[in-house]
């Protein structure tokens, strides 16, 4: 907490939770969240593409081994849950898993490191520097991902079952009587909407809470170091787990969308 003794803890935390923003209202863009998100996506694609270009079915190199472990893990997860034929789901799951893992891992970057680096390089006063580096602690990012998954759920539901089949699925269950079809429709619509909402909010909630606790720890002075270490170590569990859950639920939802009743 070196951004100035004149700041109270509350001001310090509020400052750190504010995004670097251009534009106003709905047209605003969080440059830090979106920037780090795209940066992490590019890191993922650059590494994986460089391996894919040189991929050999003979004796693999060490990097190829590591990448193949991740790809094999995702492939196994997809094959154990999704039994149809779809060339999109496995790469989609891989992208979600690795990208979210990398975005979540920004949580390990000490909360004051980036603002101070920017201060050191550009000379801007710390109070003017807004930098919230964990993209998945920004609901825009998690809802963006969940919205993409939701669109795919709707797309495959209609593609596999047809518009009629999809509407039938929404209206004829759980209650079989025609008079209850409107109730069914409301229930099923809520279920449908709950899927992307829970996906996005789970990821956002976990990472936002993690970030908030890091900020709280940063306000306690000298003793923050061991506590910070413990909380970071705990995130060894949280970060991959949240990435895995997002990936797994995406696979499950898409496999449900493919199921024809």
């Amino acid at each position: 907490m070196s951004s100035g003794a004149e700041l109270t803890s509350q001001e310090y935390i509020t400052h750190h939770l504010a995004n670097l923003k251009v534009g106003d209202g709905f047209m605003a863009v969080h440059l830090d969240s979106l920037g780090w998100s795209i940066f992490m996506g590019l890191v993922f694609l650059t590494i994986f593409r460089s391996v894919a270009k040189k991929a050999t079915s003979g004796v693999p190199g060490k990097l190829q081994c590591a990448i193949e472990m991740i790809v094999g893990f995702v492939d196994d997860s997809v094959k154990s849950t999704f039994h149809g034929k779809n060339d999109l789901i496995a790469p989609l799951a891989l992208t979600i898993f690795v990208w979210i893992l990398l975005m979540n891992s920004m949580d390990w970057v000490p909360v004051d490191l980036l603002p101070h680096l920017i201060h050191w390089v550009t000379g801007m006063p710390l109070g003017d520097i807004y930098m919230k580096p964990v993209p998945t602690a920004d609901p825009n990012i998690t809802f963006g991902l969940a919205l993409g998954v939701f669109i795919l759920i709707i797309y495959y539901s209609i593609k596999v079952k047809g518009v009629g089949g999809f509407m039938k699925e929404l209206t004829t269950q759980p209650f079989g009587h025609w008079s209850l079809y409107p109730v069914n429709f409301i229930l099923e619509t809520v279920t449908m909407l709950a899927r992307p909402l829970s996906l996005a909010l789970r990821l956002f909630g976990n990472l936002y809470a993690g970030e908030l606790i890091f900020l709280l720890i940063a306000t306690i002075g000298v003793f923050q170091l061991p506590v910070h270490f413990l909380w970071a170590a705990f995130h060894l569990l949280v970060i991959p787990l949240q990435a895995f859950i997002f990936m797994m639920l995406t696979i499950v939802y898409l496999s449900l969308a493919h199921e024809d009743h």
């Binding site: 993922f44 079915s57 790809v71 993409g148």
Partner: protein
């Protein structure tokens, strides 16, 4: 919560990244993995086959060895029988030969003895005459006394 265009930006990035991953990242890597898995599976199957072949070959070799031993034993048996037969035949022949030679020897001895007897007889006659001449101090007319001599010779 502050929802704004960041969401749209993230959605676009998501779509682009997934499409890139689907086109250029996933297929080569999973292809390499599956190719290698196939190669390894083939290798394992081949080694299994080779092990089975080896087992079969060993069984075959053992069987052949056993057969060869049986054959060798039978050949040895046959050879022994043959040998015994040859020995027997040879012994028989030798016996026959021995008997023939003995018989011939006996016959020869008999002939020789007879001849010697004849000779002796003749010589005895001559000796007898010579002895008689000495005793009588006179010549005996061999022709006149040939009957006596013949009698004498016959008595020998």
């Amino acid at each position: 919560m502050d929802i704004n265009m960041t969401l749209v930006g993230q959605l676009i990035a998501f779509v682009v990244f997934v499409i890139f991953c689907m086109k250029y990242v996933w297929p080569p890597i999973i292809g390499a993995i599956e190719d290698r898995q196939a190669t390894i599976a083939d290798g394992l199957a081949a080694s299994d086959r080779a092990a089975k072949d080896l087992e079969l070959a060993q069984e075959k070799a053992t069987a052949q060895l056993k057969e060869a031993k049986v054959q060798a034993a039978s050949i040895v048996d046959a050879a022994k029988k043959h040998e015994a037969k040859i020995v027997e035949e040879t012994a028989g022949k030798a016996q026959v030969e021995k008997e023939r030679i003995l018989a011939a020897g006996h016959a020869e001895i008999e002939t020789e003895r007879n001849r010697a007897k004849e000779e002796l007889r003749a010589q005895v006659a001559v000796l007898a005459i010579a002895g008689a001449e000495k005793i009588l101090e006179r010549s005996i007319d061999a022709a006149a006394h040939s009957d006596i001599l013949d009698k004498l010779v016959a008595e020998l």
